[in-house]
Structures are given as C-alpha cells and as structure tokens.
C-alpha cells in the first residue's frame, strides 16, 4: 500500500471517530437533562412508593401495601371518575373550540400576516400567570358577580344563578380558558400544511362543504387533533389547583389526594398514587396513539 493511501485511510478513520464523538457530545445535554429531571425523580418516586412508613418517618424496605391501599380505596375510584368526567368534557369543548379557531385562522383569514397576528393574540393571555387568569373568573361568575348582576338587572332571572361558581361549571370554564391554546397550536400546525387547492378539488368533485370538512380537512388535521388531545387530557388529569380553587373545595382531584398525603407526610402513599396516575395516563396516551399512528402522520407530510 502506498504512503498516500495509508494517509487517506487514516484521515478517513479519524473523521469517522470524530464524527461519532461529536454526535455523542451533541446528544449529551439532552441526555443529562432527561436523566436529572425525568429518570432520577421517577426512580426515586417508584422507590419511595414501596417503602413503609409510620406516623413520623419513612422506613426503607419493600411492601406493596401502599398500592393495595390506594387501589382498594373507594376514594381513588371516585377521584378518577371525577377527573375523567372533567377531562372528557374539557377535551370535547377545547377540541371544538380549537378546531374552529385553527380553521378560521388558517383558511378564512386571507392575509398570512393577519393570521399570524391573530394567532399570537391567542397566546397573549399566557403572558399572565395561570393563577391570575383563573382568579379573574371569580368576580365574573360569583353570586354577586357581573354575570348574575347583569342577568338580574335585565330581569332575565330573579334569583342569582348558583351553579356559575364553585361548581363543575366553573372548573370546566377555567380548564377551557387555560388549555384551549394547547389544542389550537397543534391543529393550526397540521392545518397549515393542507394545500388550499384541495378545497377546490373537493368542490370540483361535487363535495359539499360538510363533506369536504369530514373527508378532507378532518383526516388531514388528525395529527394535530391527537397531539392537542394528549396535551389537554394530561394537563387536566395532572391538575389539582384549578379544581381546588374553582370548585371552592367541593371537588378534589387525583393529584389533590396526593397533596393531602404529602402534607401529612405520607410520602410512600403519595408516591404509589403518583405511579398509578402515571401508568393510567401512559395507557391513555398509548391508546390514543394506537388509534392514530402519530409518527407516521408527522413523517408522511412530504
């Protein structure tokens, strides 16, 4: 072998090695973040969930009693049922709202610039904190609130409406307010990739507006709908604060039970609940992903 060929081979090898090294370095920050903030906490939660405890301390060991206690409690079941009900209603409302808003922004606003402006306007409420956005509903919905006052003054009602605040209604209103944007963004994204000529092609084939919606727009927005649904459902299932404030303490969520456990130092019990919630949510998301192969949907877009 000639000297130059050896040199070329050596340079080639070096390049190969430095490539793999730089790839590793590039992957390192994300890996570090995931290990520190996902894997490690998860391991510690799972570990604590099998520890024993008494009134004063957590005792390392192995027991499944915490799980047995959580799973056999009627409270757990009723909390899950409450949250699934709230999540389902919130999901349905945000889906309809999010779909309509995204559809309007993508297909009805002619100027791209105005569409992007309106889209940013949708995010403006997020410049304030969640808590402020939630609390600002109180003066609106209360017994002496603006809505009741207005209805009483105009004579539409003679007794203030009680269901407006500290009820399922007010909780769902807050959820919808807080989470619709998480539905709008992915659907907006999916719809932006739809070629507007498809509407004309559909109309040319004799489809009505409704048929175009059902046979063309809906299937092509599916990936956005699924992503948005995962966001909204997991956000609602993981909530405890909105439920507490907006229901006036009359409702509790799965997570608020954990908060109660933690405040009475029942860490292993709370950890077991957390693991169960994680499993339930993972199964839910896996179920949704089975319905729609999101990875294929995202890759298939040219």
């Amino acid at each position: 072998m000639s000297a130059s060929a050896t040199l070329v081979a050596a340079v080639g090898r070096r390049r190969e090695r430095s490539w793999s090294l730089s790839s590793l370095l590039l992957a390192l920050p994300l890996a570090a973040v995931l290990v520190c903030f996902v894997v490690a906490p998860l391991i510690s939660v799972v570990a604590v969930s099998v520890f024993r405890y008494d009134n004063f301390a957590v005792i390392p060991g192995f027991t499944l009693e915490n799980y047995a206690s959580v799973l056999s409690s009627r409270l757990t079941l009723s909390l899950y049922l409450t949250m699934i009900r709230l999540a389902a209603i919130t999901w349905a409302v945000t889906l309809v709202l999010g779909f309509c808003v995204a559809y309007f922004l993508v297909f009805h606003v002619r100027s791209k610039l105005i569409a992007i402006g309106l889209f940013l306007a949708c995010t403006v409420p997020f410049w304030t904190s969640n808590i402020i956005r939630m609390i600002s509903w109180l003066p609106l919905l209360g017994r002496q609130g603006i809505i009741n006052q207005a209805l009483l003054t105009t004579g539409v009602i003679h007794q203030p409406l009680g269901f407006l605040l500290y009820s399922d209604f007010s909780v769902i209103v807050s959820y919808v307010h807080l989470f619709t944007i998480f539905m709008i963004v992915p659907i907006f994204n999916a719809m932006s990739r739809i070629d507007p000529a498809l509407f004309e092609a559909s109309r040319d084939a004799g489809a009505s507006r409704w048929q175009t919606m059902r046979l063309v727009v809906l299937p092509l927005s599916k990936s956005g709908i699924v992503l948005g649904s995962v966001f909204v459902i997991t956000l609602v299932m993981g909530d405890f604060y909105v439920v507490k404030v907006m229901s006036g303490g009359s409702l509790a969520s799965v997570v608020s039970a954990m908060v109660d456990d933690i405040s009475t130092l029942l860490f292993p019990h709370a950890a077991a609940s957390a693991v169960i919630l994680l499993v339930v949510l993972t199964l839910l998301v896996a179920g949704i992903m089975r319905l729609v192969d999101i990875r294929r949907e995202l890759v298939a877009e040219r």
Binding site: A205, G206, L215, R302
Partner: protein, 377 residues
C-alpha cells in the same frame, strides 16, 4: 339524492355534434383588490374540441379557465355551456371537471380513493365506486399503483391520477390548468400526446392553459392568445402560428420576424414599403387597406427565408450575431443598426453546404407570399 343520469354527459348536443360547447360573452373579472384580471372577453369553443389558452403570466388565462370551471365567478358577462348560462352553478352542475396545476391530490387517500372521491361524495356504495375507479385507473395505466398514496408516486403518475379523478365524473368539459408544467421535458412530450389522444377518444371538450407556445400548437384545435386580460387572437393552431393577426401575437408565437415600413404606393393589391434603413418591401394587402404615407407592420416567417445575395426588394442584410444548431434547422440571428434583430431558420443541409461565420454579413430574401400585413393595435 342524485340519479345515475347525472353521471353520464349531458345529452345536449350542439350543431357540431359534440357536447361541451363553450361560449364566453363579455366575461370580465375584477378581484376584490381592484385588479382587473379578465377584461370583457368573447370566445367560442366548439364542443368536442381541444382548445389552448395561451399567454404570458398574468394575462388572465388561468382566471378565465377558473371561471369556466366555476371556481371563480365573473364580475360581468355570461358563460354558456351547450347554450345555457352556467354562471353561479357548481362545477358538478356545469358538467365540468378541473385538473389542477399542483394536481391537488388528497394526500391521505390512496390512488383508488382519490379517483373514487367524487363517487363517494355522491353516496355510491364502496364496491361499485371501486369497480368504476379501477376502470378509469386502468385507462391511465396505473392499475399496479391503485393502493399507493400520492406521495409515493412520481410527478407523471400523480398527473395521471389527477386526470383519472377528473374523468371519472364524466365531464362535458375538462379544464386543465398548466397540466404539463411540473413535468420534465421528456414526460411533457409524452403526456401531451396522451392528453390529445385521450381527448380524441372521449370526444369531450378540453380547455388547456399553458404559457408554452409549442405545447399549444402541438395539441390544440383552437389556440387563444391572451394578453392583459384580453383575447388577442383566436384561431386554429396553424392560423395562430402562420398567420398572426398582430405584431404582439407574431412576436409571442416566435415563428415570425416583425418588420415595419412606410407605404410608398399601392398597386394591384400590393403595397410597396420603405423600411427605416431605406430597404424596399412588397406586401400583399389582402382584405386590408393601406394608405400612402402610413407606417405599417408586417410579418415574415423565419423558416421561409433563403440565404441570398442582397436584392432590392424583400431582403434583409445584417451582421451574423449568433448561430444555434437546432437539429433540423440552424437558427441565425442577424443584427441590423437601428432595427430589431432578424432571425432566420435555415435548413440544416443548406446551411452546412455553405456555412456562415459569426461576425460576417449575410442576406436573406423571401417570396411575396411569405410576408403578411399585421393589424396595428
């Protein structure tokens, strides 16, 4: 619900014996932003013919097509298909189908479902619509790809899907918006022949928008040259190419040299002209009139010139600026002082028997009948 009768082309027959005769009467389109895309055009397209709307970008040809298709409504005028006004009707009620420039195939549907789409929205049962779709897919030779998604097909195959999807509605009129512009040269020639063949077989009207002159004259029975929202000339392909009416059409089609001169005298239907450089021309007037002292334009076919020693009438002399070998002929460009370039298509054999070098002087002459007068606009 719709009946099966709607699927077959309308029984209305015109005098030509074919359905799908189109007539535009004073059709204009002004967009909401004030732009006038189409400025009151009148046009007749015979049923069962192949018509090309030809013109540069922004001349209103696509808008005209979309108005016939029912995807734009004219702001003035009437559009008649087989004698009845279709303005305001849906594409389906018009009996038209459109093939979109980007094909606009549904990316989430297989080839078969794309083609069967119009039957699906009509409520045809699945088995029946697939059977019908498969027949059309076979016509465009895509049977082995019927289960694929559009994204898995080549440009040419996607175009056949778009064609099949349009044809399954059995339209009286098929509207094609720059159908060949996304294809490479080889496929373009092949598809252009297939479109023509398809039109002949179906006997329906094809209206085809293009900005390529050779494409238009190759496929069309009728070529309509448009500019600035107006029809400049509408006639047979040969008529457009060989007998352009105006300097614009002559220059746009490219087969002619446009020359100008001042009328010196008219005798026996022949005008004697004097060019700006003092050269003399003789042009037959035909039905046109010309007065002495008037400046007129006339066209001379680039491929009917002979390399000649300069003579006193109907000849041009200039310096050879460029020579391009084109296979069957050689394109020679002459520059003349104070006048536009003059182009000659010289027979390949004739050229190579006596080649001319770039930079030398050359003269071309033509017979009286190869020049014709142009209408000034």
């Amino acid at each position: 619900m719709d009946t099966a009768a709607e699927i077959t082309p309308s029984p209305a027959r015109t005098v030509t014996g074919h359905a799908g005769a189109i007539e535009l009467a004073g059709v204009a389109k002004r967009f909401p932003n004030g732009a006038l895309a189409v400025n009151g055009i009148n046009l007749r397209i015979a049923g069962g013919s192949y018509c090309c709307l030809l013109g540069p970008s922004g001349c209103g040809k696509t808008t005209t097509l979309r108005m016939i298709a029912g995807h734009e409504e004219p702001t003035a005028g009437e559009i008649l298909i087989d004698g009845s006004n279709v303005v305001g009707l849906s594409p389906r009620a018009r009996g038209t189908a459109m093939m979109f420039q980007s094909y606009a195939l549904f990316p989430h549907l297989s080839v078969r479902d794309n083609v069967a789409f119009s039957l699906r929205v009509r409520g045809t049962p699945r088995a029946e619509r697939y059977r019908e779709a498969d027949q059309v897919i076979e016509q465009v030779q895509l049977t082995e790809f019927a289960a694929r998604l559009p994204g898995q097909l080549s440009g040419g195959q996607q175009q056949r899907v778009a064609l099949a999807r349009a044809l399954i509605t059995r339209p009286r009129v098929l509207l094609l918006d720059e159908p060949l512009s996304a294809l490479d040269e080889f496929l373009r020639l092949q598809m252009r022949a297939e479109l023509r063949e398809m039109q002949r077989r179906l006997g329906i009207t094809f209206v085809h928008v293009t900005h390529t002159q050779l494409e238009a004259v190759a496929v069309a029975d009728q070529v309509v040259v448009m500019a600035h929202g107006e029809v400049r000339q509408s006639s047979s392909a040969r008529g457009i190419y060989a007998e352009p009416r105006s300097a614009y059409v002559a220059q746009f089609m490219g087969g002619q040299n446009v020359l100008r001169g001042t009328v010196e005298s008219v005798a026996a239907g022949i005008a004697t002209l004097r060019g700006p450089g003092g050269e003399g021309y003789a042009v037959r007037l035909g039905a046109d009139k010309a007065l002495a002292g008037q400046t007129v334009e006339f066209a001379v076919r680039r491929d009917r010139l002979s390399l000649a020693s300069s003579s006193t009438v109907n000849s041009i002399t200039g310096r050879v600026r460029a020579i391009e070998y084109q296979g069957t002929f050689v394109k020679m460009t002459l520059t003349r002082s104070g006048a536009p370039d003059f182009v000659a298509y010289v027979d390949e054999g004739a050229y190579f028997r006596a080649p001319v070098a770039v930079g030398t002087m050359a003269s071309f002459g033509w017979e009286l009948d190869e020049a014709h007068l142009l209408v000034s606009e």
